[in-house]
Symmetry: C2
Subunit: 140 residues, 2 copies
């Protein structure tokens, strides 16, 4: 719990409170190798913080996404996962088999800029999920 100090500081500076629940969840997300579902986060977090509720996990993950500290990963079903990643990227998901490919954000940068200018929205660099058929599933 000493590695996401910068993230917790960000929260504190923006007027949010640092709670054990948030610290633990940030820690888990920060050290996860892949994106995690709320259930997975809950499972892991319960170990170091027994008594934690799933509700809090849902709310914390959504909170982190809203504040931009975590990214939402949409997998095409109505479940999602969250992750913290230093490397800005998006996902391309096969609608058939679920295979995921990472897309570096630079490829989408031009489009993002264009959209910001034409809509006035401030785009989050959160993950976009593109959908398609992977090479394997194309020959069904």
């Amino acid at each position: 719990m000493s590695c996401e100090v910068n993230l917790t500081n960000q929260l504190r500076e923006r007027g949010f409170r640092i709670t054990p629940q948030r610290s633990v969840i940030l820690h888990i997300l920060g050290h996860a190798k892949a994106h995690l579902t709320p259930a997975e986060v809950y499972q892991q977090a319960s170990i170091s913080l027994p008594g934690l509720t799933e509700t809090t996990v849902y709310r914390t993950l959504e909170f982190l996404a809203q504040t931009g500290l975590a990214q939402t990963v949409f997998n095409g079903k109505s479940k999602y996962a969250y992750e913290i990643s230093g490397y800005a990227h998006h996902h391309l998901v096969c609608r058939q088999c679920g295979t995921e490919v990472e897309i570096p954000h630079v490829k989408a940068e031009a489009l993002f800029k264009e959209l910001q200018e034409s809509t006035g929205f401030q785009l989050m660099q959160n993950h976009i999920s593109f959908f398609g058929l992977c090479p394997v599933c194309q020959e069904d």
Copy 2:
């Protein structure tokens, strides 16, 4: 029920069966002004097809999305909606207030082409949801 013959024909030609449930749901989606949630589709479809179950609605919507006849619209919460639209577009959703803006597909065309070439995936022209803060919510 005479207006989505082309869609039902598409299904039949591809070896899928045409059922009253599918016809009704196709009809509703085809005539909806906006995207509809499964619950909304169920509500409307039940009128002309009493006895229809929500399960079937969920499965049919997912089926239509898989076959490419309908598009999935992701709203940032873990619910989605579906729509049938002749006009290829995506959505830009405000993560704060939920406001949606349509993005014509042409703007994303270059990126799509690039991704298809570099990944081998065959991209679906289904809706991408971009997220950000709308001009109003930027001054919170």
